[in-house]
């Protein structure tokens, strides 16, 4: 419920353990066959030390972070993700989120969330934001 959310609340962290197999699965499922995600030689030619995780796979995890938290009655309205740094299979990826605004607009409870993917060094490689609606007690 919207009324149960407070600005400053943290979302439960979502931890992912990506491996090469998952990158290949994602390449097939998303039709993204850019070779830096599965061919080490091509990744090195492009300047990377290893194959890199698809940015869009990281945004899928951040989407899961938010949709899991808002639950079946919530609706994801906006998802913005920026791939500032690359991430690698074998590294733990932790999706984090924090409520930065909660407001009612036209009778709809809206929650804005700062989201990000934290790498093993503790840096946010992939910052973003999401906007979601949540049911309100007054509306039920």
């Amino acid at each position: 419920m919207f009324e149960d959310v407070n600005v400053g609340d943290y979302l439960p962290e979502l931890v992912k353990y990506p491996d090469n197999r998952q990158l290949v699965m994602y390449a097939g499922a998303s039709q993204d066959f850019v070779a830096i995600h599965y061919d080490l030689n091509v990744a090195k030619e492009a300047g990377h030390p290893n194959v890199i995780i698809h940015g869009a796979l990281k945004s899928a995890w951040l989407g899961e972070l938010v949709t899991g938290w808002i639950g079946p009655e919530g609706r994801l309205l906006e998802l913005d993700v920026s791939y500032r740094a690359i991430d690698f299979p074998g590294d733990t990826a932790t999706c984090v989120g924090k409520v930065i605004d909660a407001r009612i607009e036209d009778g709809v409870g809206l929650v804005e969330i700062e989201i990000g993917l934290r790498n093993p060094e503790g840096a946010i490689s992939t910052p973003g934001r999401a906007l979601a609606s949540l049911p309100t007690r007054s509306a039920t």
Binding site: G28, S30, F33, V34, I36, L57, E64, V81, S82
Partner: protein
Amino acid sequence: MTTSVSPDDTVISEELRSFIDLESNAVTYEIERHAVERFACAIGDTNPFYTNKKFAESSSYGGLIAPPTFFRSLLPGDYPLPYPEPFAHILDGGSKYRYNEPVRVGDQITVVRKITDLFEKDGRMGTMLFKISEISYTNQEGRLVATQTTTTITYGTGAKDSGVGNH
């Protein structure tokens, strides 16, 4: 640090610039249950709204839906002319999704992409071309269900990576 590129050195030719606002050929996809299942499995999202028909039918959605980034699998069509990509390597810069309603299994989703901006910067990898594209997703009833705005970065010479030019 990045600096902007002087007009004399630009890779943004008149031909490349002519692609701004040009719409890709529309492609319509039927949202197929097993494609959604495969996608949910690949991203590792076990939410039953994507895979459990009975559960989804009894929910507020009334049926199976697709994950929010499932749109990535609905590739836009080609532009009417071949896109003259000047670089060999590609990086995804990010995406901004706006959702009006969920995509349901069985929907027919029409995808159209257009480039809204092209600019370049000098960085660690040399000159990098930034391409901003807007992709629209419209359902079988003509309603715009979502948009995705993407930033695609290309750079470097040599053998072109597969998929460069498709994103």
